[in-house]
């Protein structure tokens, strides 16, 4: 992706004083995500103002994406424009808070879009806490190419989301996944990349080989994945911009798979199977021999680093069934952290370091769940015939995973759920989708 979005985040000259209104004791405009939001906050999002001729359509489209993003979190409810009393005719005109209070809008988002003669787009917005009669934070503006209009809508959404929740945003980010097509017994798989909302899908491999489990680098410009193109599963490192790739940790005698980057991007932890036995290994991307991290007759796979790079969580069946373990990044004796009913696999450390997401398999059902990194406070967020493969949004508050339906016509698709277990949503993709890996917020 070659957008040159300049996130100048230039603070705009702010409004004249807030409109007069009775000072009332109101709860501040704030959502605590972890508690789970039962009643979404009503938000008014009047169509952004076109400040140049010809910008009307893109202004309307940006407004729709912002609204869809916010409503899609499950934290907001959009008030129908039909109910509006005030009309926003100028970005800098004072807001008539009483008119927005009257329709029970707790938050108000206003914006304006200008399309320059050079094809550059400028988007600015403001957020208001209606019940407090005050703007919430400064106005911001974003500039970029006209083609990057969706990213600017995502930037606006991230700013609104962050100010109200106190969490980092996640809308302006991408997901790499496996696009699946064809019948279940002849499935074709391609590595693909998309915006987190399913837009702008690009295919990075053709369907000639089985490909599995792509993983974003911490900076989002490289991808690790597993391919059968030599006939045997092995790990590839792909540079997204150049399309260049190379095999890493190649071993002519062994299957290598399940790679994941270290948080600084310098190393890859992965699984290698030798003589039927699977253990964890580490490869420095600058070279050198791979280092063995585990040496057990059991299956050790699905490793994931802690964000500080000191520990690795992985799954092992050393106890007799798949369970989760944490060990030092240098190997050594692991500590088991999963003790609930059933089998536990595919652990992924949250980018915030506070939770580990996993797949739980129990009595023929699959669940996505989270637990604290010591195994405490476990909770299952989903349940279905086959849920698998969680990945964290950059803010560590939303999880994407794959859900497969049963039977001969079963399809696999991508879903998101927030860590409170609310707001389960399907991500629209043209093909089936599996093995998602959520990249970082874009710069």
């Amino acid at each position: 992706m070659k957008t040159t979005l300049i996130s100048t985040l230039a603070a705009l000259a702010l409004l004249a004083g807030p409109a007069a209104g009775p000072a009332r004791a109101q709860e501040p405009l704030r959502i605590i995500i972890e508690e789970g939001v039962v009643e979404p906050i009503p938000v008014a999002i009047p169509t952004f103002i076109a400040e140049t001729p010809g910008a009307e359509q893109v202004a309307a489209e940006i407004t729709r994406v912002v609204a869809a993003n916010l409503v899609g979190t499950g934290l907001f409810r959009e008030i129908s424009p039909d109910a509006f009393i005030s009309r926003i005719t100028s970005f800098d005109a004072p807001v008539q808070y009483a008119d927005w209070k009257a329709i029970n809008a707790q938050a108000l988002v206003t914006g304006a879009v200008a399309l320059g003669g050079d094809g550059r787009l400028n988007v600015k917005f403001r957020l208001f806490d209606v019940f407090s009669d005050a703007p919430l934070g400064d106005g911001l503006q974003f500039g970029g190419t006209a083609q990057s209009w969706r990213r600017m809508a995502h930037k606006v959404s991230d700013a609104v989301y962050s100010r109200i929740t106190g969490e980092g945003g996640y809308f302006d980010s991408r997901v790499v996944f496996v696009a699946e097509s064809g019948p279940k017994d002849a499935r074709q798989k391609q590595i693909a990349i998309m915006d987190q909302d399913g837009a702008n899908v690009q295919y990075l491999t053709d369907a000639s080989s089985i490909v599995l489990a792509p993983r974003f680098s911490p900076t989002g410009n490289q991808i690790l994945y597993t391919s059968y193109e030599t006939g045997r599963p092995s790990i590839y490192l792909l540079d997204i911009a150049s399309g260049q790739r190379r095999q890493i940790a190649a071993d002519a005698e062994s299957m290598t798979f399940s790679p994941r980057f270290s948080p600084d991007g310098s190393r890859v932890v992965y699984s290698m199977s030798q003589g039927g036995n699977t253990d964890l290994w580490m490869q420095d991307l600058s070279g050198g021999a791979p280092v063995r991290l585990t040496n057990a007759p059991s299956i050790e796979t699905a490793p994931s680093f802690s964000p500080d790079g000191t520990r690795i969580v992985f799954e092992s069946d050393r106890s007799g069934t798949q369970q989760l373990y944490v060990m030092s990044v240098n190997g050594g004796e692991p500590t088991r952290i999963s003790f609930g009913p059933g089998r536990y696999g595919t652990p992924v450390w949250s980018p915030r370091g506070d939770y580990i997401a996993f797949t739980n398999q129990n009595q023929g059902r699959f669940h996505i769940g989270v637990m604290r990194t010591d195994g405490s406070n476990e909770r299952l967020l989903t349940a279905s015939f086959l849920d698998e493969g969680p990945t964290w949004a950059p803010n560590g508050r939303v999880i994407m995973f794959q859900r497969e339906t049963a039977g001969a016509t079963g399809v696999v698709s991508l879903y998101t759920v927030d860590i409170s277990g609310r707001n389960l949503r399907a991500i629209p993709t043209q093909t089936g989708g599996s093995d998602p890996s959520w990249g970082p917020l874009l710069p």
Binding site: G231, G276, Q322, Q361
Partner: protein, 174 residues
Amino acid sequence: MTSIFGKALLLTALLGLAACANPDRFGGAGGPGGAGGPGGIDTGGLGSPSDPRSVAYFNQTIGDRVLFAVDQSTLDAVAQQTLTQQAQWLNANTQYSAIIEGHADEQGTREYNLALGERRANAVREFLISQGVAGNRLRTISYGKERPIQVCSDESCYRLNRRAVTVLSAGAGV
């Protein structure tokens, strides 16, 4: 590795084992309607299932695959009997090598099933070696849950997907 797959391609050409003759290699001879059953697979070029020296005999009369219990890689009595005969055939037909493909059913996570498929393929390889087949004639590969031959989502399908398939290729070893 390159060489053994090269040889597999060679065999494909020599024996007409190409996609046209056997469009779904993973369905194999022991799949539904396999073993010469109704709707069976065209075995032209593989020889006759009644000719003990033929690939068709190996695939169908002996059986090219063994099945596993849930989350297990141990070989039961039926599997051991099949593999004993596979070993005898391989010992008598030393111009062939084999790739043993390990598979899992869909009831498991992707990475674990890859490792489990490798375990199953290796269990078969070790058994064949114990019956006198040279290890350098036997390679393994795991497909995890990537290549089911049965697509329903109950045990009647799962039991056939939990398999290790011995796929012959021309060449005496590597």
